[in-house]
């Protein structure tokens, strides 16, 4: 294998692994803010218990997220030196802004969020929770801005200095508000909220099934269900908007999403299918003219297909892009159906006494994770062969001085470490969940007993 493939695998692997955690942190952040505000507003102890419990799990996801996040920043320099030289001038301000506005905010307040319960007033603690949550949202802004600039570059010009060619920034705000950044930011935020809400629902559904922490779990589940429903539906709107943007700015990517080859023809939309790149055919279940309709509200409007582009400017892995995109969309639809079903049963008062639906919600935590991951794979692989769309090819973006052996060494190292890390993460998550929301006492039964014992002895 050559340096390019190895470096791509390494970057994909490290960033995909990293991306398990930030969406959970952002999503849990939102729920923690809601829980803690509820506690301060109503003064009900349950909300405090919930906020504390989820803060502990948040601490776990955040910790792994930070530790695995620095890796990408370093990899730009170590593995993608030519890329770094090319984009540094533009990209740099976004990354610097991320560090100083977002990361510093979240890490600064994290200490108080995790360790400050007994040291500061409740409202100061809430401010810290909001600070951490806001920080994680800001983080997403700058990272998505930087990545979106790679998809739809804006606010720059190309300068050649003899030794090298690079993009230089001309307009900061045009770079920040490049054509795809806001659509993609919404999509990422919503995806994160959904991931967090589904984790909360999963854990509390599990408690309800095993008849533990019942009252508190009902509260948490309802809260998370509302968040999940709102943003699952919102994600459909955001996704539609985003796809329109892709059609306009990255037609080759959109064509790959739907396996649309013909240069100028009405495009179909597939529910599922299989792309044969050689034969330029898609076999599967389709809605004739569906993509045309989605983009132009007309079944017969032609859509630019892959053949409109020279061979070396089309995404090479069309079928993979197609599959990832379709699985993401299917899961999105499934989540809407699931949350609406949950709301319906809540309205009918059957939500908490039908074990099957609680089982579904216990397992469903995996769906937003898969969908978030595959969405990014579709977005990044759909941009190929470019690393910066239309400007810099992935093949040309490598570090010239790094050898195959070095990358192989680091890749194996990351693989081993991340495997250990992932197992430990699961083990500790499981442990925290088994332990439950009450810190000293293992379960509610004993909590009640000891509460009564306290009352009795005081008398």
């Amino acid at each position: 294998m050559d340096v390019e493939i190895l470096s791509r695998i390494q970057f994909a692997f490290t960033i995909a692994f990293h991306y398990i955690y930030p969406p959970l942190s952002i999503g849990l952040g939102l729920l923690m803010v809601i829980m803690e505000s509820q506690y301060i507003r109503t003064g009900k102890k349950e909300y405090e218990t919930l906020a504390k419990f989820w803060t502990k799990i948040f601490g776990l996801t955040f910790g792994v997220g930070v530790a695995t996040g620095i890796v990408m920043e370093f990899e730009f320099g170590t593995n993608w030196a030519t890329y770094s030289r090319f984009v540094g001038d533009v990209f740099g301000s976004a990354l610097a802004a991320e560090g100083i506005f977002a990361f510093a905010l979240e890490s600064g307040f994290l200490g108080i969020l995790l360790f400050g319960w007994n040291r500061v007033k409740p409202w100061v603690h809430l401010v810290s929770t909001v600070g951490v949550f806001a920080g994680s949202m800001f983080s997403a802004i700058w990272i998505v801005v930087a990545n979106s600039w790679q998809q739809t570059p804006a606010g720059y010009h190309i300068v050649s200095t003899g030794i090298e060619t690079r993009a230089e920034i001309t307009d900061f705000w045009a770079m920040v508000f490049n054509p795809s950044s806001m659509d993609r930011l919404m999509h990422v935020w919503f995806g994160a909220f959904i991931a967090g809400a589904f984790l909360v629902m999963s854990v509390h559904a599990y408690y309800l099934l095993t008849n533990r922490h019942v009252e508190i779990s009902k509260k948490a589940f309802k809260l998370a269900l509302v968040v999940a429903t709102v943003f699952s539906i919102g994600q459909l709107v955001s996704g539609h908007h985003s796809a329109n943007g892709v059609a306009e700015n990255q037609p080759a990517k959109l064509a790959a999403f739907e396996g649309h080859f013909e240069a100028e023809a009405p495009a179909d939309m597939y529910i599922l299918g299989w792309v044969d790149k050689e034969e330029q055919k898609v076999t599967g279940l389709k809605m004739k003219g569906g993509l045309s309709f989605l983009l132009h509200y007309d079944f017969d409007t032609p859509v630019t297909g892959l053949n409109a582009f020279p061979e070396d400017e089309r995404p090479p892995a069309v079928n993979a892009v197609f599959q990832f995109y379709h699985i993401m969309v299917t899961i999105g639809m499934l989540l809407i159906a699931l949350t609406l079903l949950g709301c319906f049963m809540w309205w009918r008062g059957k939500l908490f006494n039908r074990p099957w639906i609680l089982w579904i919600f216990t397992i469903a935590v995996l769906l937003p994770q898969i969908s978030n991951q595959l969405g990014w794979f579709a977005a990044e692989m759909g941009r190929q062969p470019w690393v910066v769309y239309g400007l810099l090819r992935t093949t040309d973006a490598l570090s010239v001085s790094v050898s195959e052996n070095q990358v192989l060494f680091s890749l194996i190292l990351f693989f081993v470490i991340y495997s250990i890390l992932f197992l430990l993460f699961l083990y500790l998550l499981d442990k925290k969940i088994r332990h439950g929301p009450y810190s000293e006492i293992p379960d509610e039964g004993r909590s009640l007993q000891s509460d009564m014992a306290d009352v009795v002895s005081r008398k």
């Binding site: 792994v64 320099g77 510093a104 400050g116 090298e164 060494f409 890390l421």
Partner: protein, 345 residues
């Protein structure tokens, strides 16, 4: 060229990045240093105290690395790309240890078993030690210069070229300085028996530092002549090494008087003076080429455009006061001796 406060933008940005790296060295320096001492504490309770002394702040300290790295990337992309790809192995190892360290801190307290805690103690201490050492190794390579070619690319070979004698010396000196710094920090945070033990450890740390620092300085003067060029042409700069030596000498004095807060200030000052020394030795070069001086990467041929640098200065001007405000807020919330409670590690 556009100027601000009498400096051109690349120079200004050089100062900003220097400031960020100094801040990073002072902050993560004490928690790496504290980590390097970790296995010297034998009792579980002492280890917990040591860990919780840095508990609420280590994560915030690492932010400085992210910001400093980001600033280098943004300000001098050519330097960032060349340095990181040239130092591939040390940077990858640095990442590996930084992950291990974070994981050790997070996971240690999650189980009661003896072997579990011991395992994470060892991994925490080794990774803290290695991180301090690797930072020094990279610094040593930067000071000494690496084989940079005409195209700003690294043309060295071999997996282990980064491990040369000078880099090793700077690495060990950095470790010794961080350990001294870390021991002083722990002294401010502990009491009782552990405090007694730390005073003995600190004494060893100071000796370790002074010896390794002297050897490295001697080696620098003898074998890396380009680093003293600036001082030969401008005698006024001699004040910087002078201040560095005075502030180093002041540490044992303050320690013997048990003025640990002042000692901590002076170990921080020592780091600042030493890094100012590095900055003066380098400026305006960022990375010396051992192939040909005309291939040196300097602040001028590595910098981003003026437009980009001015945008980022604006960002820094808005952001820095905010960062300072909440950093102070966090440190004041957790000031004083460590108290273990149910939310501790």
């Amino acid at each position: 060229m556009e100027k601000f406060l009498g400096f051109d933008y690349p120079t200004l940005w050089f100062l900003v990045i220097g400031g960020l790296f100094t801040g990073y060295a002072i902050l993560d320096g004490f928690d790496f240093g504290a980590g390097a001492w970790h296995l010297f504490f034998k009792k579980e309770r002492n280890r917990r105290i040591a860990l919780n002394a840095i508990g609420p702040v280590w994560d915030g300290n690492e932010v400085w690395l992210v910001i400093g790295g980001g600033a280098l990337f943004a300000g001098f992309p050519v330097m960032y790309a060349s340095l990181f790809s040239a130092m591939y192995i040390p940077f990858i190892l640095f990442l590996v240890f930084i992950i291990f360290r974070a994981v050790s801190i997070e996971f240690r307290s999650k189980e009661e078993m003896n072997w579990w805690r011991k395992m994470w103690d060892i991994s925490y201490s080794i990774s803290s030690t290695m991180l301090a050492f690797l930072l020094g190794v990279v610094l040593g390579n930067v000071l000494q210069g690496i084989s940079i070619g005409e195209d700003f690319q690294y043309h060295g070979d071999g997996f282990f070229e980064f491990l040369n004698p000078y880099a090793l010396m700077v690495g060990i000196t950095t470790l010794a300085l961080f350990m001294t710094h870390g021991a002083i920090y722990l002294l401010m945070k502990t009491e009782g028996r552990m405090y007694e033990k730390l005073t003995a450890l600190l004494r060893n740390g100071m000796i370790f530092f002074i010896v390794s620092f002297s050897i490295t300085t001697l080696y620098t003067l003898l074998y890396i002549p380009h680093l003293s060029d600036t001082f030969k042409s401008e005698k006024l700069y001699f004040i910087i090494p002078l201040l560095a030596f005075l502030s180093i000498a002041n540490i044992p004095r303050l320690v013997s008087k048990k003025k640990y807060r002042m000692a901590f200030i002076f170990s921080s000052l020592t780091m600042s003076f030493l890094l100012i020394l590095v900055a003066v030795e380098l400026f305006p070069t960022l990375l010396y080429s051992t192939i040909d001086p005309s291939f040196d990467i300097t602040i001028y041929n590595a910098a981003s455009s003026e437009k980009a640098l001015s945008i980022m200065l604006t960002i820094a001007a808005i952001g820095t006061p905010l960062v300072l405000i909440y950093t102070i807020f966090v440190y004041s919330t957790f000031k004083g001796k460590v108290q273990l409670d149910d939310t501790s590690y």
